[in-house]
Subunit: 401 residues, 2 copies
Amino acid sequence: MRPIKKLIQLDEALAIVLEQARPIKRKETLPLLKAMGRVSGQNVASRVSVPPFSRAAMDGYAVRARNTFRASKLKPIVLSKIDTVYAGGVPRKTITNGTCAEIATGAMLPQGADSVVMVEDTESDGTSVSISESVHPGKNVSKKGEDISPGTKLVSEGDVLNPSKIGSLAAIGVKTTQVYRKPLIGIIPTGNEIAELGTQLKPGQVYNINSYTLASVVRANGAEVRVLPVVNDTLKDIQRTMKKNSDCDMLVFSGGSSVGERDIMLDVLERNGEVLFHGIAVKPGKPTLFGTVAGQLVFGMPGYPTSCLSNAYILLAPALRRMSRLPENEPPCVRARMSKRVVSATGRTQFLTVKLDRGIAHPVFKESGAITSMAFADGYVMVPADVDLVEKGEEVKVYLL
Amino acid sequence: MRPIKKLIQLDEALAIVLEQARPIKRKETLPLLKAMGRVSGQNVASRVSVPPFSRAAMDGYAVRARNTFRASKLKPIVLSKIDTVYAGGVPRKTITNGTCAEIATGAMLPQGADSVVMVEDTESDGTSVSISESVHPGKNVSKKGEDISPGTKLVSEGDVLNPSKIGSLAAIGVKTTQVYRKPLIGIIPTGNEIAELGTQLKPGQVYNINSYTLASVVRANGAEVRVLPVVNDTLKDIQRTMKKNSDCDMLVFSGGSSVGERDIMLDVLERNGEVLFHGIAVKPGKPTLFGTVAGQLVFGMPGYPTSCLSNAYILLAPALRRMSRLPENEPPCVRARMSKRVVSATGRTQFLTVKLDRGIAHPVFKESGAITSMAFADGYVMVPADVDLVEKGEEVKVYLL
C-alpha cells in the first residue's frame, strides 16, 4: 500500500487548480433566446439607430413647440388636428404652423413637428385641440438614435448576457449571437464496488452517488457534463476511458485516489501526464489527486460521497467558473452560532456540515462515507487549518448548500 | 383616450400578484440527472440500508478488536493474514481469534471481524501482520445502515433538490424522481409597431425586445416559456391568442396597456375576466395591468422595454418563484454611495438604474423607452415612494442585475 506522501494546504491546492483552469476558447453561435446567462464571445456594436426614427414618448399631440409658447390653462392655444398617428403607422401629413397630429406613444413623429404635448394638457372636440401647457422643442420625443446610436458598443467580449443585455441585442434586431462554449467535463466513477442506479446490488456493491452529485455541481457552474459508465479500477480500463474522452476539457474521476495497492489513478497520471498534487490537508477530502494529461485536466476525487462533494464545492466549482468565464461567486451565506464546542485538527482545513435552527448551527457531519453528512445539512462552515477549536456559541459563517 | 384611474402602490400590487400566484400542482417524473434544482413532488423514505453491509472505513486489517487489546508500538501483536478483501469483493474467510484480513476502504467486513486496524498502525511480511495499536469494536467500520437506515426520510415534498439531496436519492438506487412541473408562461408581444428579430424594419416599426428580456427572467425563476409571435392590437386577435394558450399558467402581454384609444388589453380583461389592478405608483412601469381570466393570470406589461423589464424583476419574478415553489430570493446586492443628488417623485417608488464604480453608484437611467437605461447599468436602487430626495454621497442598496 502506498501512503500519500505529503499533504498540501487547501489554498495551495486551489491556487494550483485555478492556474490550470484555462478559460475556454471555443465559441458557438446561439439564438438569442438561448443565450441568457452565457458569456459573450464577441464585442457587439450597433450599426443602426434605436429608435430608428424620432417618436412620441407620450400619448398626446405632435406640434411645433413654438406654436405652444405662452399657452396656459387660462389662455389655451387652439391648433387644428390634421392627422392621427398610431404606433407602427406612418404620418401622412406634415405639421405646419397652427396644426397638430394626435399621436400615440411610440408612434413616428410627423415631419414638421418637434415636440409632443401630453394628452392630459389638451382638450379636443375632434377637429380642433386646445393646448393648455407650452412645450419646448424635443419635449416628450425620443429622438432617433437616442437609445442606441450607430457605433454604440452594446456588449463586450466576456460579458455575461443578462436579461437587459439580451434586450439590447434584440433592440438592434440580431437573432443570434456568439458566445463561449461551455467546457465539457467527463465524469467517471471508478471502482468494482460501484453499481449503476436501477440495477440490483450484488454483495459488496454500493450505488453510484458521485456521478450525480458531481454532475449537479458541474452544471450549476456553467459547464456541460458527459456522464460515463463505471470503469473498472484497472490501468488498462482507465487509460482506455481517458483516451476515448480526450475531447473533454477535464475528466473528474471518483474513487481510486485513496491509498491502497489497487490505487490506479496515481499510476495513470504518473505514466501519462503530470501529478500536480496528491493529498490535501482538508477534512474530509484528503485523498484527492489532481494533474494534467496532454493538456487535459484530471481530478481524482475521493470515492466517499461527502469527501467527493465537498471537494467539488471548494475546488472543482471555482475551476469550472474560471474555465467557463463566469465571475467567481461565493455561495450565499449566513452568520450563526455553534451549538457546541467543535474540535478540529490543526494543520487541516475542516469542511464542517451543519443544520441551521434559528441562528444556531448544529454540526451534522457523520463521516465522509455518509451522503447524509451533507444531504441533511443546510450548509457548511470552513474551519481554517490553524484553528483547533470552535467554541460553543462562537459566531461562524455558514455557506448555504 | 382613457387615462389610468387610480394608481396603487407597488407593495399592494406585489401583494395582489403573490396572492394570485398559486404554487403549481402538476408533477412529472424525471431522471435523477435532470432533477437538480427542481422541487420534489413527494416525500422519499428509504426502504434499504446504506451502506448495505458493514464495511471498512479505512484501508487496513479487519480484526476481532479483543485480539488487539494491549497492542503497542513496543509490544505489537501478531495476527495471521488469511484473506484480502477488495472494495466490491466478497470476503471468503471468517475471521477467528489470531487471524485478520487485509481490507480496502469500502470493502465488506468479513464475518467474525468487528473492527479495522489502520494500515499505518501495522507492518506486514505478506503472511503475518504486526498490529501496534489497539482498536475497540466498531473502530474504522461503517455499520450497515449507518448512513441511511430503512424508513429514513431523505427528501420532503417541497424540498429543492440540491446536489447532496440528489446524492442521497442515488444512494438508495432510485433512477428517477417525482418533481413539480415548471409553470408554463406564455409571452405575447402586442402592437403593430413590433417587428420580429431578423426581419427588415418597415417605417414606424421597432424590434421586439420584451419577449427576449421576459423569457430570460421567466427561465431564471424556475418557469418555462412559450414565446408567441407578435399579436396585433385588436380585441379579436388578442382574444384568439388567449384562447389558444389557455393551457399556460400565466400570460404576459407586453405593450398595449398604456393609455390610449387603442389600448385593448384592458377591454379584454374587463370582458373576459377580472382586472385586479391597472396602474402602479412605480417609475418606470406605471401602465401595468394585472388580472385573471378563467383562473389564468394575465399581466399586461408596458411596451417600453425598461418599464417592462423592471416590472419583470419586481413583480413577475416573485410570482414565478411562488408558482414554481422555489424559495423567495433577494437578488445579490451591494452598498454604494450615490454620485449625485437624485430627486424622486413622492408617492411613486422609483426603480433607479445605476452603474457602479469603486463603491459609487452613478445613475444611468435615460428613459423607460431606452433598453440601454438598463443594459448599461450594473444594478438598481429602489427609491421608496415616501422619499423625494437621495442626497449625493448617501448610502444606498444596489440590487445587482
